[in-house]
Subunit: 393 residues, 2 copies
Amino acid sequence: MKYSFSRRIQKTPKSFIREILKVTQNPEVISFAGGLPNPGLIDTEGILRAAETVLKNDGRNVLQYSNTEGYAPLRQFIADRYKNRYNISVNPEEILITNGSQQCLDLLGKVFIDKNDAVAIERPGYLGAIQAFSLFEPEFFPIEMHNDGPDSGELKKVISEENPKIFYGIPNSQNPSGITYSIEKRKEIGEILTDSDTVFVEDDAYGELNFTGDILPPVKKYLPDLGILTGSFSKIISPGMRLGWVCAPEEIIDRISTAKQASDLHSNYLSQRIIAEYLLTNNIDEKILKIQEEYKLRCNLMTNLMDEMFPPEILHTNPKGGMFIWLTLPKNYSSQKLFEKAMDKNVAVLPGNPFYVDGGGDNTARINFSNADEEGIRTGIEVLSKIFKEWKN
Amino acid sequence: MKYSFSRRIQKTPKSFIREILKVTQNPEVISFAGGLPNPGLIDTEGILRAAETVLKNDGRNVLQYSNTEGYAPLRQFIADRYKNRYNISVNPEEILITNGSQQCLDLLGKVFIDKNDAVAIERPGYLGAIQAFSLFEPEFFPIEMHNDGPDSGELKKVISEENPKIFYGIPNSQNPSGITYSIEKRKEIGEILTDSDTVFVEDDAYGELNFTGDILPPVKKYLPDLGILTGSFSKIISPGMRLGWVCAPEEIIDRISTAKQASDLHSNYLSQRIIAEYLLTNNIDEKILKIQEEYKLRCNLMTNLMDEMFPPEILHTNPKGGMFIWLTLPKNYSSQKLFEKAMDKNVAVLPGNPFYVDGGGDNTARINFSNADEEGIRTGIEVLSKIFKEWKN
């Protein structure tokens, strides 16, 4: 049967990550490919208690339709946390609850992007954002990433010449590179975008996973009217409950709300209530601290093993948090080949190429450190180091 | 601040329904405006038990990321139910789980509609579909509804002249009109669309709420390759858990899966597991029968009161199920005026105009019978009948 599919869907890349995840569900595979939180850090007991409380005390309401913007006390919690953690003032009306922070990208695409509009994105950039925005058929302008964040010269040029609707970035522990923008870079992006027509979509999925204690203010602090922050409960409570949020000026939230109504009416209300109850009755700071400590251990173990065992021509980033380390191999190496060689030994890595909207990145790879246990990390890095040592192009 | 919003969002109507719902949250208002299931029929006890079971037995998995298509046993349940209820053969790979059936419309818009593509829709048509599709900027072609379904002549003309990507309809207890397509109409639509480029998106949110026992086969039975069925757990289990599904040939599901990945990765997995467990450990047929009986009582009470008390020039449909009765007032009456007069007396009805993509319908109104209790129905219809009797244009 030949169907008349839209051009938009034919332009949207399928996620290589999610395809790889299917391969790596074999329990014998050590997976550095996905971005899964460590299962041991998910508090199933606490969630169970919260679910019992809300269903027993207010079952008929928590299972009924609800409003599009989200549960008010949850929006209040998020606003308060921005104040406490980043010292930025946000009111709850500037927050709308979404199905994970991935849905923020879909909604922002709907609200801002018409066909052929320019969108600036980090190079390498988050594949999920490339996918989400692709449905609205923009033209992408990649901005090269350095160790302190995106290239300012390139950004200035794109902003002034292409007038993009959106610049999308992940200042804290970027996916895929693990890079954190410096404070100077954050201020500079604020300056470059002020008085432009471009909103900065600041994906902060990993901000709470910063394990260095060195917390930097979001770019939105320097760009209040054009800054849009997105966040997620996936990395700190549960990804399966699919809850995130977008924080933006009310005029933008109002448009996002229209898009959200049209897309799925509202986010899962039972899960909103469970998470709100969980946050009220648990010390979330303690839980997050535990996640940070565990991830720090894993990340340090991995980078130390890389320093020890990898040939010196294999470069890696040193993340301050998040879930990912980025490998850069010599120019003539192929990470697709690395993927195949590693899969032969039951180790999964993610080739970096899909993170480049303009091609390239064939010699890069993303390595996740949050999901595997210590033994898996040791074995996996050993396997990769052997592959590198025996590498023949 | 002036933001560069997309043209698409500026074309998308805000839901009048959801705006009205805010007004009607006042507990003194008798609301016939929304489409809420009766709260007394939501089985909070059963959901609580199911939630406890899945969280206790498999907590780390149910709270983790999952696959885009949805939980396999839930997809199997839906396939089996199509076989048992409608005698159509569907395999679980032809089903993808969504955030309520509203999200099906968003995903189908993404998969099929490019700007200026033609979309055929019932007149009056479901406002949520008009909103969802509007984001993809189609041209709508309304097909007039009669008491046995959409006008065949108009449909033939639009299919042959405009070659629409989608014809969207609700054959069982349509929202807003309450009309159920006849068996002849279903076959005829199958014939008209066979060999066309148009898929029939058959929204079956209300199929399980048919309280007459007269179950008709879906149009998809006569249009296997071009038929796309959507369904929902909102009306039979819980709307707050936001779970629905789309059933389509695998080639289409594959595209929908790409759109779903880009939109929000996957549907809430905790809720998928709770509903699957609930379906396994409860007699869902018994629960649905109870809902049907209750809604039949309310619907009959309401139409009987209308026959008894309304002036004869006020016409109403006689639904076989679902949640809505459609009023047609004399041509020179305004249902906006009816809305205002009724709100003055704390009764909320929904003006019909937003259900017409081409304007019109000013003398129509949608009346919900599922949410109010018996006393509310009596009082509310009495209020409306007084308004009609005293009506002055």
